[in-house]
Amino acid sequence: MPLACGLCDKQAILKRPKTGDALCKECFFLAFEEEVHQTITDASLFIKGETVAIGASGGKDSTVLAYVMKILNERYDYNLNLVLLSIDEGITGYRDDSLESVKRNEIQYGLPLKIVSYEELYGWTMDAIVKQIGLKNNCTFCGVFRRQALDRGALMLKVDKIVTGHNADDVAETVIMNVLRGDIGRLRRCTAITTGTDGALPRCKPFKYTYEKEIVMYAYFRKLDYFSTECIYSPNAYRGFARAYIKDLEKIRPSAIIDIIHSGESLSVKKEVKMPVQGVCVRCGYISSNTVCKACIMLEGLNKGLPRLGIGKTHKERLKMAEQIGEKEDSSINSQNLKSCVSDHFRPKSNSTSFEKNQLDSFWVQISQSGQSCCKSNTVGCSCQRSVVCKDVTAGIQSSVEQQKINSSVIDF
């Protein structure tokens, strides 16, 4: 027996997973879009005239996000300048297809697209990383690198904010994960709709209260094209437990997902609990709770052939390493707190260049073993065989990243 739509009188063609109401197609689209709009306005996510980068992976979340952002931008005069930002991890096969999808989005939605790759940012593709360290901890690298890649790409595009397609299921899953791991710092932050306001580019999740199933439904009925595959390097199994739990909960009580988010929002941390202080990495200036950020430590490890550097919980060795790296920094820093770069082959060109938070250029040059300064070219043909240039990142406001090409013969095992 055909059900009538709850809002208009047409025939209902679907049941909303979120509320259980029967709706027809147009009413569903409207409801879906209105809810996202409500989330955006309630949280005052955007300011008129801002440039906003949409983290586009080619998957359903980002495709639908781009589509809806465009619609709402026009319908409600957000006056935003939207761009698509995509990350190429350098995983053959997997990436190519999703990148194709993003390129299609660029054309379909008429939004400019920028692709940033691990290769250009760090000098390593995921394929190369996996070849070096195997399959055990590659996800750690990818996670850390991706986060920074998104920020650095956005800075290159000079955007004011990043939006990602994290949906309600993702947020709920993260809450449960953090409870299971006892990670109180992340637990407190993960339900915030905007993260990273202090220092790094703010990131928002307009889909925070949107169910994954509804996103799929929306894409299906709007006939949006997306590509969704599993990463060929098997993903973290532990998160899979939380995911399975959430899915089972949803079967028992569909509102459980939002309930978990509410629980996460209602939590407060005891005042006495020591929260990790967010400082700045001494190497690259990226936000970090440690002296040296994880990406820098990992890169150091990769470059030196120490694959486990930076993996796993902080334990004495890693701390020692970090301290050593930090110390090496100190020894090459003069009293004005200048830094040297990852490979230890660099020092500031001019001793009088002091590091101030707002200064954008510090000059780095490469010194060969003999102590002579080298050209600052970024080409591989340089006689010192390393052209690593690292730039200072100020307190997160702007950064520019240069390339690091490692000659494999330099890596010692």
């Binding site: 996670g143 991706r146 299971l180 791991r181 006892g182 709709i193 509410h262 629980s263 996460g264």
Partner: protein, 516 residues
């Protein structure tokens, strides 16, 4: 897109292969080990016993919350954890122990058979068994039924003194005369077929302080029988009311949630009226970890901390303690097996249910499954709970009318609560039966409902008013409830009180200075 994020891959320690542990010796005394507990520590029998008793005494002692001679109500469910708690308390109080505990326990057992639809013969059976166990300790005991929590207008029920206290008990010898009434009455909780009394004739009476009822105390048999019969009628009604309420909630998860709330309410009421300043619960660490995750899943994140912390100060006059919170269910099981501790198995709503029977059941399966492969799961979860604030520091927060935890519904957008309400608003036109009921409240006119209750002079609470005074979790639990009159009386009274206060406030609003 792969959803791995930074920091995702910090995975907890995973269990070693089984064969590595064969024939391990105790980590303390190098004798043959009988148990592996904590993350990977082996203990022999005697060291294990020492470990357990020491941990118990330390948990109770280090917080210095339980004073000498303080009256503490110990809640027994019949299950292994509370039975272990009882055993530990007995050991701790006995004279031979080195540093003995010094509080005065009373025992209480709440019969929840009505909620599970147990036949009355089985309920009686269970009560008898529990009574046996409780009597053998010599401590004063109470037995209550869950349905008594619905209607605590009836002071009689809650101010009953301990139902039994055995004469010449150890406790009497140690503490001198027991200065509370020891009239031996067992409240009857069976259904229509027969009223049953247990044979209590061996218990004696000693001098007492005020007796709330005014029943004569001379003829025990007579008074207990008459009391039993008079309360029989009330119990039947209450039981029906409870069953009706639970049935209209429509989901097992909601039912379990409500049962838990009522149970706590009964415990706090008995404690308050009988002079106990503390209540000890027998929940073990594993169970509390499940409770924490379940609370997260049902929208009770704000209470998750207070539900799992050692000292729960939600109810103003009574403090709930959880001395077994550091113990895993495995340690409890082993302790009971080694000491032949008797426990009574009582089925619950999800006994023999599939994993998806209720949220709590699913969560339990999830946590125990994960714990098997990652032995630090439970301790991680508990550690998270310890770092959360219980909200006890904030004085001015209002409490939920049902579960007494802080109201977490006063949130500014954007929030999950607002998002949900918005979704509901835009997904359907107008709301359904609630508006009809609202009209009932306004005048005395018949609304045509035909159920006969509209003609009462007492104003009915509207669902809207009730929801406004409940926390998110309680709102969720009663979402499918059709008639708010079915709720326990104490909830409705609280709601009315708030409504009256709101009315008062709105009358004087213009004269109130803004103190914010």
């Amino acid at each position: 897109m792969c959803s791995v994020e930074e920091g995702d891959t910090d995975v907890p320690f995973s269990k070693s292969r089984p064969n590595e542990s064969i024939g391990r010796t105790c980590m303390k005394c190098q004798e043959k080990a009988i148990l592996i507990t904590r993350v990977n520590d082996a203990f022999c029998r005697s060291c294990f016993m020492v470990y357990i008793t020491h941990k118990f005494r330390a948990t109770v002692g280090k917080t210095k919350l339980v004073r000498d001679g303080e009256m503490v109500l110990v809640a027994l469910s019949g299950g292994p954890s509370s039975s272990a708690l009882l055993h530990l308390i007995q050991e701790g109080l006995s004279e031979r122990t080195h540093k003995k505990l010094r509080f005065r326990p009373g025992l209480i057992f709440i019969d929840e058979g009505a909620a599970v639809n147990l036949p009355s013969s089985e309920r009686l059976n269970t009560c008898e068994k529990m009574l046996e166990i409780m009597k053998s300790t010599g401590f004063p005991c109470h037995i209550k039924a869950l349905e008594q929590g619905l209607d605590n207008d009836n002071i009689q029920e809650f101010s009953s003194p301990p139902d039994i206290c055995c004469p010449g008990s150890r406790l009497e010898k140690e503490l001198g005369t027991i200065d509370y009434d020891t009239e031996s009455i067992l409240s009857d909780i069976s259904t229509a077929t027969s009223s049953v009394t247990l044979d209590m004739s061996e218990c004696s009476i000693s001098s007492s302080i005020e007796e709330p009822y005014g029943n004569s105390r001379e003829a025990i048999a007579v008074s207990s029988m008459s009391r039993v019969e008079s309360s029989f009628q009330k119990y039947e009604e209450a039981e029906e009311k409870l069953k009706c309420l639970l049935k209209s909630l429509n989901s097992v998860s909601s039912q379990e949630d409500l049962i838990r709330t009522i149970r706590h309410k009964i415990l706090s009421e008995v404690a308050t009226t009988c002079g106990y300043s503390k209540v000890m619960l027998g929940s073990c660490g594993t169970r509390l970890a499940v409770t924490l995750l379940t609370d997260m899943a049902i929208g009770r994140g704000g209470q998750a901390a207070v539900d799992t912390v050692f000292a729960d100060r939600r109810y103003k006059n009574v403090m709930f303690l959880r001395p077994l919170r550091e113990f895993s269910s495995k340690e409890i099981g082993m302790y009971n097996a080694l000491n032949d501790v008797e426990s009574v198995f009582i089925p619950t709503l999800t006994t023999k249910g599939s994993d998806g029977a209720s949220i709590e059941h699913l969560t339990e399966a999830f946590v125990t499954g994960l714990q098997r492969d990652y032995p630090s799961t439970v301790s991680n979860i508990m550690r998270t709970g310890e770092k959360l604030s219980t909200g006890a520091e904030e004085e001015n927060k209002e409490n939920c009318a049902m579960c007494q935890s802080s109201l977490d519904t006063n949130v500014i957008a954007p929030s999950a609560l607002n998002a949900v309400e918005f979704s509901q608003r835009i997904s359907s036109r107008g709301d359904n039966s609630d508006s009809k009921r609202d009209h009932c409240n306004k005048t005395g006119e018949c609304c045509g409902e035909g159920d006969g209750s509209c003609n009462s002079t007492r104003t009915r609470a509207t669902k809207q008013q009730v929801l406004a005074s409940l926390c998110y979790g309680c709102r969720l639990a009663i979402r499918k409830l059709d008639d708010v009159e079915k709720l326990p009386l104490y909830v409705l009274k609280d709601v009315f009180w708030r409504v009256r206060r709101e009315k008062m406030k709105s009358e004087i609003e213009e004269f109130l200075l803004d103190t914010s």
